[in-house]
Subunit: 463 residues, 2 copies
Amino acid sequence: MAEHEDDLAPEVEQDEDDTPLTRSLIARIMYAVETQDREMLWAEMEPLHAADIADLLEQSNAYDRRRLIALYGQEFDGDILSELDESIREEVINLLTPQVLADAVRELDSDDVVDLVEDLEDQQQEAILSVLEDSDRAAVEQSLTYPEYSAGRLMQREVVMAPEHWTVGDAIDFMRHAKELPEQFYHIVLVDPRLHPVGNVTLGRIMASRRDVPLKDIVEETFHTIPVTRYDGDVAYMFNQYHLISAPVVDEDGRLVGVITIDDAMAVLDEEHEEDIMRLAGVGEGGINDSVIETSKQRVPWLAVNLGTAILASLVIAQFELAIAQLVALAVLMPIVASMGGNAGTQSLTVAVRALATKDLTGANVWRVLRRETLVGLINGLIFALVMGAVGVVWFGGPELGYVIGAAMVINLVVAGLAGAAIPVIMDRMGVDPALGSGTFVTTVTDVVGFFAFLGLATVFLI
Amino acid sequence: MAEHEDDLAPEVEQDEDDTPLTRSLIARIMYAVETQDREMLWAEMEPLHAADIADLLEQSNAYDRRRLIALYGQEFDGDILSELDESIREEVINLLTPQVLADAVRELDSDDVVDLVEDLEDQQQEAILSVLEDSDRAAVEQSLTYPEYSAGRLMQREVVMAPEHWTVGDAIDFMRHAKELPEQFYHIVLVDPRLHPVGNVTLGRIMASRRDVPLKDIVEETFHTIPVTRYDGDVAYMFNQYHLISAPVVDEDGRLVGVITIDDAMAVLDEEHEEDIMRLAGVGEGGINDSVIETSKQRVPWLAVNLGTAILASLVIAQFELAIAQLVALAVLMPIVASMGGNAGTQSLTVAVRALATKDLTGANVWRVLRRETLVGLINGLIFALVMGAVGVVWFGGPELGYVIGAAMVINLVVAGLAGAAIPVIMDRMGVDPALGSGTFVTTVTDVVGFFAFLGLATVFLI
């Protein structure tokens, strides 16, 4: 289901502005802030979801944000902090009064507190932990002992479990009399006497079964446990691949320690996407809420790498100064060969990076994919060689320049296809994220090869 | 939580090969196919999930795929068809015997059949619909009347609903005696007498509440209904934004017609991402399973656009042939200015495209973002102007060439920041997907401006 939007039937409603944050609502909220009308502000913001309030704060400038938070006061909810983009979370926490911050944090589940504090500096982290009750604080500190980006950081510790020999009736009686059940849960995890998970039963199946049915007769067919140290990106992949709704997390002895639900996995999947697309462009961790200086700092490294590779390409051109001095048309045409190669290389690269991310490109088909990309480069090279050959003849009046540019085009597009697919595969084998800067490497190859092939052939045949 | 992988703590387990499809399993499966050992094939494939079998078929070549399917025979499951990539789905359907196909399709839920048949040609579609029972066929045909990429195509029609005045006890008694409940459900939808949904109650809350509690006292705080004609990308956004697990779908009169669950929304989110990344690279709907000719066809259009824009840039260079003939160093250095501009423009562009996709870039902050990108371009332009100025002095021995390339660098990076952010915003306002080919437009701007600024300044000050 690709090529989504442009062939939408006219009846599909796609409303870009269908967010509760309409222009007129934002205007009313800012009016309330201007006039310091707290009642009006509360009334206007009452229907908003915490995620929308977080968006509002992110889209405001720092000055408006400060005034808005000051006026909003004790209504400030812990969930807003959870939803806020990291780039301004610290700033917002500093704007809250100690009392408001304490109330906000105490409302949160332990996994949300973990998510909140894990990137804060020690001092802010301590300020938040100190307002928690002792048991909550212990739970949060326990979670923080798991490595960053691990399943342990993602899971919630509250799990509804049942011994494997229970029946549906036992489970229902247990739940009915349990003091406290998690806010959101969809499965009961069956465990053996050593607390090893052995199966998942959905609440729906429990509801639909007779009281005397053993739970182990109605476990779900697909069952996966997740090691607590597992990389969260792999967890997200697993949820997406196997359509999981929740999955138990186990420690190194295989004992149940928590559960991960699909909404957390979906958030990770979204972050992984963001990372892929940002890394392909060499943007680092940038978001649109970072400051100018911060953003500039994030982008300089890849621009510096690009400068190095651009100079490399220029050194190739410098070898042919004499040829260019004799035939200036070469300088006019050479960027075309390089540009087409860069474009074709980026196409192959993107397909390969995406296929690696979705685990569709493996040892089983890597040679087939490399061969295919090279062949596609050859075919497209031949097509554009014909076109450019003709352009060369018309523009510069002689067939020779056309032959040369056509031949260079074929060479460069074949190399583009091969390098575009091979470079991310090699990076992946070396344990490096294939999205990270592979675009720069591929265009370096196509620039160098493009200039060398075109100017080299021209020197041999035209000068 | 960006910049994920490279700062992973050493304890995080990230195992790229952690898929059930190990090399040795694939080898054993292919051995069974070679020796036509059906028993062994069934035994080896028995533990695999349908999604893994689909991956296996996708990663095999067409010849192995045909032999594998022929030997696997009646074990072929409907879920495998659902999981298969569209590019080979048609081929696989044609390989199945009518009996196997009929058995496979009859196992599927109606929403999976819809997903399966919606992209097939009429003849194959009819072949599949004809094996369904009448009621299932009617349900599928009803769903197909909703536009493609609408909520109506995504939803399942089986919903568990309850009148709004029911208590927990009423709901439990109803479920316990219901003939047939959906395979997967997590909420009961409360409806008024006209079948308008008024709230969602999780099964967990029902389990944890006393029998006499009215359902409407324990509805979830966050409740959204989805119009049946709503674009599925917007549905995925809503699930991600509000952490929904399931949401009722309503027709134009507001009546409940189905329900969408988060696993379907997650699949759409993944597809949307694929589309963004592919479109940014100008790849069209390509996947790694398409044929060489098919792939070549998909990629030619954007290469053709790129050729046009590259020729435009060359026309700019052609205006300065005389200057280049007098000072060949210009030809050597000009690609550096263009390349840096292209890179910086792509950085701004990617941040803007992503922010538009996540609805973080709106009317409220568009001017701030444009100003920020332009300022970042100015700062990075100044940094690399200094660097390139120094390179120019060392390489070509005079300060004048350094001044000129430095000035051109500043101009081009400012333009890159502005154009990179403005072009996707303008495309979005015009109702065009901002990912679609915006990269080509941005690099056209930076090529033209880069060549013009550098060669123009050189003509004025150096020649």
